[in-house]
Symmetry: C2
Subunit: 283 residues, 2 copies
């Protein structure tokens, strides 16, 4: 692979650019972005080597699609139309069902690889991109069998070379599970932030009393609404299901407190402490 | 101050011991704990210099009470009975109303300082203690006027010397505000952990798909049920109020998703992004 086109030069696309360039200094990274300021910033920061447009995609060996998931649905078919037969296009979106469904009958389906790199921070834009974001992170690949073998092989090797481990899932299972471990966490954090800010109109009080615990729990409430709104839209059914269960668990816990059933309060927390062991596995 | 007695040689008490000893090598730190293994561990780790018992408290210049808040209510009056007139006793509990109420008419009320150091990690026990936990952290002092002037002066200086900033609040306001920025965060994290674990019986799925975002949001679910149950009990009314508001916000957000009102979903997140500015203030 020689010419890499990054569509969406933010945290996710920009970090892929930096990691791929780090592997091979001869790679040429082109950036495409609807935001001209971001594109210039990415160039100035050395995240990309050159600005490009959609009309240049016929020169691409690899296209990285790292834009909000609603935009992906809008432009992916067009991208596939433009690329040549040996180009691989992968997306990095947090939902996989809709995108796989969209291109299932596209004549260039074999040029597309549906990916979800489980990596990121609460920041966005080219400035947020950094080398090493993907080291030791998981990349979930959906419907790998629908991508041309040579293209999947080369792309998966690239992911492994930047330190990622690969997992395979079907799009339905991906969207269902990711609703729990990612989408729900974001809503939980956003609503925690909202609840506290509504109450604490005087920000000094928060400033003085909030510690690292609050900071950690609410961190994801800094995330980009532009990115997350279409994710919740595409994964509506699963997200609503997780929210129902989460709200039910909160209500149950509240009832235990209200009825002075502190043995149950204790047990709920004790049982959940098992998360320690699970989280150890993440690191 | 020469002889410091730490009652409860865990994360909070042990870290005070280490920070105070770091200020003055001539300090002698005595440990008292109902758990003999913890006490031995604290001694072995050099967190304390010597084991002691409640009967030794008449030798104390300073007593640090760092045990679950229900136990504090049980033994604080007895501690005050035992110490001499120039001893200061401070607690480090996450609730302040009950403890202040308990000793309001105690003959040695002037020897007590109600403190809440906003510091900690999700770990507990002597092994979790570390030097520097309190650097740049806030210590909330309640009813400072009820502590003898010389004792408060010396103790507050000690807090400042280990790098803490001091804030003064009344116990009611403390308990109300802390319910939002601390207690609710813990419940939010515990119930997130519970919801995900209930669904993902196969832990491999979580292991593979969970990223740093989930880890951060659920971190507090590792916290000690022994410590947190009595906090929720003592701060029941405020905690239930925060939970009502949190659940209502979650339900509203869910309704927006269910009714395809993604403009509202976007705006909810956009408005909550302001948490960035508030969190900057914490650091």
């Amino acid at each position: 692979m020689k010419n890499i086109y990054i569509i969406g030069v933010g945290l996710i696309g920009g970090s892929f650019a930096l990691d791929f360039k780090n592997l091979d200094k001869n790679l040429r990274v082109f950036g495409i972005d609807t935001n001209p300021n971001h594109l210039q910033e990415a160039l100035d920061l050395g995240v990309i080597d050159e600005k490009a447009t959609m009309d240049d995609l016929n020169h691409a060996d690899l296209v990285v699609l790292a834009i909000p998931v609603d935009k992906t649905l809008e432009i992916l078919p067009e991208i596939l139309n433009k690329v040549n037969d040996n180009t691989v296009v992968f997306d990095a979106g947090s939902t996989k069902f809709d995108v796989c469904k969209l291109v299932e009958n596209h004549p260039k389906r074999r040029n597309f690889l549906a990916a979800h790199p489980i990596a990121g921070t609460e920041f966005s834009g080219p400035k947020a991109a950094f080398k090493g974001l993907y080291t030791n992170k998981t990349n979930i690949i959906c419907e790998v069998e629908k991508t041309a073998f040579k293209l999947q092989e080369a792309t998966l090797q690239l992911f492994k070379d930047i330190g990622m481990r690969i997992r395979y899932m079907n799009p339905e299972a991906h969207d269902k599970h990711i609703a729990y471990v990612s989408h729900l966490s974001h809503i939980s954090a956003f609503m925690l932030g909202k609840t506290v800010m509504e109450k604490e109109k005087n920000e000094r009080d928060i400033f003085d009393m909030a510690g690292s615990g609050f900071e950690s729990t609410v961190r994801l409430a800094k995330s980009s609404p532009e990115m997350w709104t279409p994710i919740f839209k595409q994964n509506k059914q699963n997200v609503v299901e997780t929210l129902n269960e989460y709200i039910q668990n909160l209500q149950e816990f509240k009832t235990y407190i209200e009825t002075d059933n502190f043995e149950a309060v204790f047990n709920e927390m004790k049982n959940t402490n098992r998360i320690k062991e699970i989280l150890k596995g993440i690191n």
